[in-house]
């Protein structure tokens, strides 16, 4: 019986309105169609149907099922920036090794990061560090049990995006003024 929703093709709950309904375990639309299609059949018919055709087990709703909303984007970006910062951590380790290797290697390392591709990577890492920092604080606040309702979660996501953008801009302006570029 719990497999019945898989029969109704793609996701009948695709058009759910608002973020709150996204967290409902069994989508109302799916419940409705299940009740409707069950009317004409007796219980035993359904049993034989189920035993005759082997079905793939239902998957939990995934990325392509939900309408995009800001908390979803914020969550995915937290992971993406985390992976980007993993690479950033390795670049910092390379900086330390280059520093210990002497002036020539250090100059090489600096000119590599100062090249155009290097600057693009550094810009991406700047966005990533400020985004991951702000959203990490958002997660820490959630861990205390605060700000978990839909309205607060949406608002804090906007705040995190705004902070990441503003802080990145500020740092690159300062970098330009102090001759770091």
């Amino acid at each position: 019986m719990p497999r019945r929703t898989a029969e109704h093709g793609a996701a009948p709950w695709r058009h759910t309105e608002g973020i709150g309904s996204a967290f409902v375990d069994t989508p109302p639309a799916a419940l409705k169609s299940e009740a409707a299609s069950g009317q004409g059949k007796s219980g035993s018919d359904q049993m034989t149907d189920a035993s005759r055709t082997p079905r793939t087990p239902p998957l939990s709703p995934h990325l392509q099922v939900w309408r995009w909303h800001i908390t979803m984007a914020a969550s995915i970006l937290h992971r993406a920036t985390g992976v980007a910062l993993y690479v950033g951590g390795l670049i910092v380790a390379a900086w330390a090794v280059a520093l210990a290797a002497g002036p020539e290697r250090y100059a090489e390392f600096k000119s590599l990061l100062g090249s155009l591709p290097g600057k693009v990577v550094m810009f991406g890492l700047t966005v990533s560090i400020f985004y991951h920092l702000a959203n990490g604080v958002r997660h820490l606040v959630w861990d205390t049990g605060h700000g978990l309702d839909v309205k607060s979660a949406n608002a804090s996501a906007v705040l995190v995006f705004a902070f990441a953008g503003a802080a990145t801009l500020a740092i690159w302006v300062i970098a330009g003024m102090t001759g770091a570029l």
Binding site: L85, L90, V92, A96, P103, Y106, L133, A175
Partner: protein, 133 residues
């Protein structure tokens, strides 16, 4: 299927109720520590990008800079390991590839972290390149 094993027998070896939160907690503790450290590190990167090798050596030989750099490195690599571990556990389900990636994650973080900390200490303690340049 009827199992003849007792509930206790089935639960044994599947993890201790007293240690399950360890990974989760270590991710949070390192995250809290990294909030001020990362802000300081961004400032450090700004200053270092404006300077040359001599400035970097001079900067890292300051005890406060050396200490905070080593702390940032160690805690970052710990946090990176914890974070990527969750990513691997979430997306990779084949036992072999999962084990290989988890080990690789541990070894990469361990090696890169150790190399970075040793390099910083070498320069900070005055044995690097020009010494006290």
């Amino acid at each position: 299927m009827v199992s003849y094993r007792t509930p206790l027998g089935r639960a044994r070896g599947l993890g201790s109720a007293k240690h399950g939160a360890g990974h989760w907690l270590s991710e949070r503790v390192t995250a809290i520590a990294l909030v001020p450290l990362v802000v300081w590190a961004v400032y450090g990167v700004l200053r270092l990008s404006a300077g040359d090798y001599g400035f970097a050596v001079h900067w890292i030989q300051d005890p406060l800079n050396a200490t905070l750099t080593v702390l940032t490195l160690v805690i970052s690599f710990w946090h990176m390991h914890a974070g990527l571990r969750v990513v691997v556990e979430d997306y990779i389900h084949k036992a072999l590839s999962k084990s290989v990636l988890l080990l690789l994650n541990l070894f990469v973080c361990g090696l890169a972290g150790a190399l970075a900390v040793f390099s910083i200490l070498k320069v900070a303690l005055g044995a690097g390149g020009l010494g006290g340049a």
